[in-house]
Amino acid sequence: MATPDENAATTRELIQRVLNDGDISFAEKILAEDYVEGSPMPGGTVDKAGAIAMFTMMREQTPDMTIDIEDVIASGDKVAVRSTLRATDVNGFMPGMPPTGKPFSMGAIDVFTFDEAGMNSEHYGVYDIAGAMAQLGLMPGP
């Protein structure tokens, strides 16, 4: 059984290698075959292939993206991460909307679940998409 500390370390490595460095092969390795995505992108599938497609798309939309981790909370088989994504909207961050070329930042909270072998078996997250859209001029602020 992977410990909460081990799961937290895996989560940090997943964010660093896959999203910050663009090493999609680490996601292939660390996502369980029966992975379930609780927050799929619009039109995306909820399985491992859908998650890999989402990581790939994020790196294509915003190649300079960096995620700064601000807090990690691990208990049992769960790891929560509070973070901020910073990027330039180079290739169209919002599906169906034209790229703006503008920089933006977006707050995020994610929850990852790990199986007994320490593989990432589930994920859900909520993101300040409304705030990011407001920064890009794609939506009026509240």
Partner: protein, 147 residues
């Protein structure tokens, strides 16, 4: 307080919000709570901002119901995944550009992290809400491609 007690405070606090029991809310939330949720700068400072946000929710969605779908924590922080459902039969959601109540049902989620003092009271919160889903459900924003 241990993590189980802090988790208990979050559950009891949600029950107080649901019952609009603001004496209870003021007992479980520190007066000077720091709120980092997007939009919190539009609210009164401290616990009175939490009261105002809850009353705002009931004004838009009088049948508002919040369920905790996941909860865990470590040390002084508790993570809670919440799901809110309700019908916009009350006030129009003016900040979304709506001028009339839509009568539409919404079902959206948020994740909240709360930090607790030694006495268990909530002293700091961070939350992210799925605002776009709610705006699409209200008809205030077009659905993204593929939805």
């Amino acid at each position: 307080m241990g993590i189980d007690e802090n988790i208990g405070v979050v559950r009891e606090l949600e029950a107080a919000y649901a019952a609009r029991d603001y004496d209870g809310v003021r007992r479980m939330v520190a007066p000077g709570i720091e709120k980092h949720t997007p939009g919190a700068d539009q609210l009164p400072d401290g616990v009175e901002g939490c009261v105002a946000a809850n009353e705002g929710g009931f004004a838009f969605f009088p049948d508002r119901r919040v369920d905790i779908t996941d909860i865990f924590g470590q040390g002084d922080r508790v993570v809670a995944h919440m799901r809110m459902s309700g019908t916009n039969t009350g006030a129009p959601v003016a900040w979304a550009g709506l001028t009339e109540p839509t009568g539409k049902a919404v079902d959206m989620d948020w994740i909240q992290i709360s930090r607790h003092g030694d006495d268990g009271r909530v002293v700091e919160t961070w939350a992210q809400m799925d605002v776009p889903t709610m705006l699409v459900q209200l008809g205030a924003m077009p659905a993204p491609e593929g939805m």
